[in-house]
């Protein structure tokens, strides 16, 4: 009965009073007849359902060559991903570890071990990466090629295509020079940046040469981004190219070229800057003790401007000191020993500076030490961590110190921060701890734990230290957990303590220990099957 069903629907919609259904007598029995026919037709239609024509199939996801995650680690991942932020209601955290905070560390370990993500965990991983940009790169690296395949199918995960170099398209290998050149000529901006960075990390010269082929025709914003990617693997071979870029039409490109050249102590620009800066700084031996005197530049000439010196000072700053800062920052630090009487960096930093120029001069040296990654100067400028002025508002700010610490090797960095905490406590330490390698070295870990214990005994509430506590949960070496056992009990409260503080401290230390144990378990799970037997 083709069309019979449609007839029934029409009659039903209009009512049997207005439209008699097909094959029925009009009258009082028409509704029942319609219901009978519709029941038969409904069951007949359902029983006769056949599958549909298949739509166009998807290209299968690329194979993930990495070995599968051990099952214990896969279960752990499920748990970490289940602990989503947002619903905690801002309440006190109690003694339970903050699982979401451990996800970045778990991902880093899993990526280091080179395991593939379980396919069924990919949606949760993509959701986590979408919500938290800080773990996006690691989550996407772990999620692997199948996640990008998946992201193309769901608009909510488009971010993954944007944040992955080349949007998931595989970059040509270095041998495929024709493909490389075609992608460089025709690719989207993001693809080209990815291509350039990838070549730069393997063969710095080849990347520079590739960039030179189209340099003259690139737009100014693109030139700036491409030039920036030369920061990786910067070497003396880049000097001619950068020197040419000093004459670029765009001021930002010129400034970046100058900055890169000044990081090459052997470059001609560095030498020109050394001459300019040396003219401004000298040792005056006529005073009671040798003193640095500063004579800031009187003008910013065209040559200085061409070498990247910005002539216009920000509001509130004198332009002469502004120029001086730029010259000293860009001059090779090796200049200063010979210029200032053959002194070592430490001796130079010790010298008094006349006429309030000290903070300007030392700040410029700090920037130079960071830019030129000069550990000896960084050490001198940091001074001894136990020095009384290190804790106060000295010439060198905490932010600058954190940057200076970055030029030291991990052990020395940790040692300096440990010394700092032992002398000055934790109140200023958060930023410095942030630059230390994870897990913390033993001396550093001990310094932090000791300082926490001192803070507890002082009777204040632990929340003033929640930042450091959180860092300790994530960064303390898990093998320190046993050493903390003595801190888990609720201590006797001193008379002047804040009420109940001891209990909260015990809770915070319990959470610390729990988190450390959890991290140890996480690491074991990921190492479990590295040597399958």
């Amino acid at each position: 009965m083709p069309g019979g069903w449609e007839e029934l629907v029409t009659s039903a919609l209009l009512g049997t009073e207005r439209r008699t259904p097909p094959g029925c007598e009009p009258g009082p029995n028409a509704p029942v007849a319609l219901l009978d026919a519709a029941a038969l037709e409904t069951v007949r239609r359902r029983a006769g359902l056949r599958p549909a024509q298949a739509a166009e199939r998807l290209e299968p996801a690329p194979r993930d060559p990495r070995p599968p995650l051990p099952s214990a680690a896969a279960r752990r991942l499920t748990m970490l991903l289940t602990d989503r932020p947002g619903s905690a209601g801002g309440s006190r955290r109690g003694t339970a570890p903050d699982l979401m905070e451990l996800l970045p560390q778990w991902l880093a370990m899993a990526n280091a071990s080179g395991f593939a993500a379980p396919a069924e965990a990919l949606p949760a991983l993509l959701d986590a990466a979408r919500g938290r940009t800080d773990l996006r790169a690691a989550a996407l690296a772990f999620a692997g090629p199948r996640a990008l395949w998946l992201a193309r199918l769901n608009p909510e995960w488009r971010f993954a295509l944007r944040s992955t170099p080349g949007g998931g398209t595989t970059l040509p290998s270095p041998e495929e020079s024709v493909k490389t050149h075609r992608l460089w000529q025709e690719g989207l901006f993001a693809e080209r940046v990815a291509l350039l960075s990838s070549i730069r990390s393997r063969e710095p010269a080849a990347a520079r040469e590739l960039l030179a082929t189209t340099w003259a025709t690139e737009r100014a914003e693109d030139r700036l981004m491409f030039l920036d990617s030369l920061r990786t693997g910067l070497g003396p071979g880049d000097e001619p190219f950068l020197e040419a870029a000093l004459a670029d039409r765009s001021r930002n490109v010129r400034a970046t070229a100058a900055e890169l050249l000044s990081a090459l102590p052997g470059s001609a620009l560095a030498a020109r800057m050394a001459v300019r800066a040396s003219a401004c700084v000298a040792v005056d031996h006529t005073r009671d003790r040798p003193t640095i005197v500063v004579e800031a530049p009187h003008e910013c000439d065209a040559d200085m401007e061409r070498d990247g010196v910005v002539p216009k000072a920000p509001t509130g700053r004198g332009e002469r000191s502004w120029w001086l800062g730029q010259l000293v920052e860009a001059a090779p630090l090796g200049t200063w020993g010979p210029r200032l009487g053959g002194r070592t960096p430490a001796e130079i930093v010790e010298l008094p500076v006349a006429d309030d120029w000290q903070s300007e001069l030392h700040a410029a040296w700090c920037r130079a030490a960071v830019r030129q990654r000069n550990a000896e100067w960084a050490r001198a400028l940091l001074g001894a961590p136990t020095a009384p002025e290190a804790g106060g508002p000295g010439a060198v700010s905490l932010a600058e110190r954190a940057k200076l610490l970055g030029t030291l090797d991990a052990a020395e960095r940790a040692g300096w921060v440990a010394g700092f905490i032992a002398t000055h406590g934790l109140s200023e330490a958060f930023q410095l701890l942030g630059v230390c390698a994870v897990p913390w070295s033993e001396p550093l870990g001990r310094a932090v734990v000791d300082a926490l214990e001192i803070a507890r005994d002082a009777g204040s509430y632990p929340w003033s230290f929640s930042g450091v506590m959180g860092l300790a949960e994530r960064c303390l070496d898990p093998s320190e957990a046993d050493r903390l056992n003595g801190l888990l009990a609720i201590p006797d409260e001193p008379e002047d303590a804040s009420p109940g503080a001891g209990g909260y401290w015990a809770e915070a230390f319990q959470r610390l220990v729990t988190t450390l144990r959890l991290r140890a378990a996480m690491a074991d799970e990921l190492n479990a099957t590295q040597n399958p037997t």
């Binding site: 009512g15 359902l49 056949r50 339970a96």
Partner: protein, 451 residues
């Protein structure tokens, strides 16, 4: 049987959580920190002391070997069931990292577990002795059943009249008449003690104006309701099986009096649906040796999780008895002989065409059936406009997914698991399409829950 043999996986433990908040809270307690004196016994008891906000730690004990599902006891005041402490303890136990060693249960845990075992033993011997059903006088029971049948008949007759009036005036009028008409009719069916009819009437009320094609859906549902009314009114003339199906569809209680079938039952899926009155939990089981699929239903008051919870992906050595009625999958879980264990059981699968045919055949026994449980072999999820299909890997037929399945996060787990390659999928196949509930990777691996 080695009770300690298989520790559950974290997923399976988390599947016991009554809601998302408990899952989260439980996850946080699944680490050694707050726990002390935890342990597990060969009899399947897991216990531990959990430090909470008070001075005295909570005593938490779980019996995982119990025949009627895991049983929990915790001294915390939470009304969630299981509470976060029980979940956390099971998670800790499932992680297997030595925080819950085997040992002798402390008195407080042992007393509770032993008491439970004694009661279970007593119940079993009681049932075996064929104790008479407690409702007393069989004559009075018969009279009650008769009165109830009369009220249902009156309700069904009234419904027929309402349907006739509706069809005479036209469904177009139903869109204006609104919800009230149907709510009133549904309330009358509740009075008539015909909860199945009441639920159908309520669903009718939601259909007018419910998007494109609503007149077709409304006519279908009206016709099926009419068919059920007529089935009830003429039940005396129906074959036994169909008559039992009509009784259960109308809403008469039945008891699962089918013979108990002992098998290794794989827990395929567990999911909840809720309306304002009730949370309904459906658990699908597959018996490896009997090749049967069974549905366990359990209920909780609105907002509360039903008590029965089984770990998806594990197999139970247990007895299952079916409810009466032709083509019914509903069953009840009887005695369990061992705690859930891992087992490499996979139901055999069919093609999409066979799945559609299976639904068609099932309608012969139960024309009101919305869907049948089916396992599809070698299918690939394929996007189809705004929706998705499951397409046979080897032919060009495909089953569309139901609108509900499209909106679930499980869809993306299925797509991720497949990666464009064939997978095995268990789900419900009906006239609205296919609802995937669990999937297996092509070659080997455990079931991945999709609901």
């Amino acid at each position: 049987m080695n009770q300690q043999g298989v520790r559950w996986t974290a997923d399976q433990v988390l599947a016991l959580a009554p809601d998302a908040a408990s899952r989260k809270a439980g996850s946080k307690l699944g680490a050694a920190g707050p726990w002390s004196e935890a342990g597990s016994s060969d009899e399947g008891t897991v216990w531990g002391l959990c430090k909470g906000s008070g001075s005295k730690p909570y005593q938490t004990v779980v019996d995982i070997a119990d025949a009627s599902g895991p049983a929990y006891k915790c001294s915390c005041p939470s009304r969630k069931f299981p509470c976060k402490h029980a979940l956390g303890l099971l998670l800790l136990w499932s992680s297997g990292d030595g925080a819950v060693p085997r040992g002798q249960a402390p008195d407080w845990a042992e007393q509770w577990a032993a008491g439970r075992r004694r009661r279970a033993e007593g119940k079993r011997t009681g049932t075996a002795a064929g104790s008479p059903s407690g409702s007393g006088d069989p004559e009075a029971a018969r009279r009650r059943a008769e009165r109830r049948a009369e009220r249902i008949t009156a309700g069904a007759t009234e419904l027929e009249q309402r349907l006739t009036d509706l069809l005479r005036g036209g469904l177009a009028g139903a869109e204006q008449a609104g919800y009230g008409l149907w709510e009133e009719a549904a309330a009358r069916m509740v009075d008539a003690q015909a909860s199945g009819l009441a639920a159908r009437v309520r669903e009718l009320g939601a259909l007018p104006g419910s998007g494109p094609g609503w007149p077709v859906r409304l006519l279908e549902e009206c016709a099926l309701l009419h068919l059920l009314d007529q089935g009830w009114l003429h039940r005396a003339g129906l074959p036994d099986g169909l008559a039992a199906t009509v009784r259960s569809r109308v809403g008469l209680p039945a008891s699962a009096d089918g013979p108990p079938i002992r098998d290794r039952w794989l827990v395929l899926a567990q999911y909840d649906t809720a309306d304002t009155r009730l949370t309904t939990r459906r658990i699908w089981l597959y018996g490896a040796d009997s090749d049967r699929t069974a549905l366990l239903l359990s209920y909780g008051a609105a907002g509360r999780a039903p008590e029965l919870a089984l770990p998806v992906g594990l197999a139970l050595d247990a007895e299952v008895s079916s409810y009466p009625g032709a083509g019914q999958h509903r069953a009840v879980l009887g005695e369990r002989f061992a705690p859930p264990a891992q087992a490499a059981i996979r139901p055999p699968g069919v093609t999409t065409s066979q799945a559609a045919a299976r639904y068609g055949e099932a309608l012969r026994d139960d024309p009101w059936l919305e869907s049948v449980p089916v396992t599809l072999d070698r299918v690939v999820p394929v996007p189809d406009g705004d929706s998705w299909q499951l397409a046979d890997a080897d032919t060009d037929s495909a089953l569309p997914l139901t609108p509900a399945a499209r909106a679930r996060p499980g869809l993306w787990r299925l797509v991720a698991l497949s990666g464009g390659s064939p997978v095995k999928v268990f789900g419900e196949c009906g006239h609205r399409g296919f609802t995937p509930l669990a999937a297996w990777p092509e070659t080997h691996g455990e079931a991945i829950p999709l609901c």
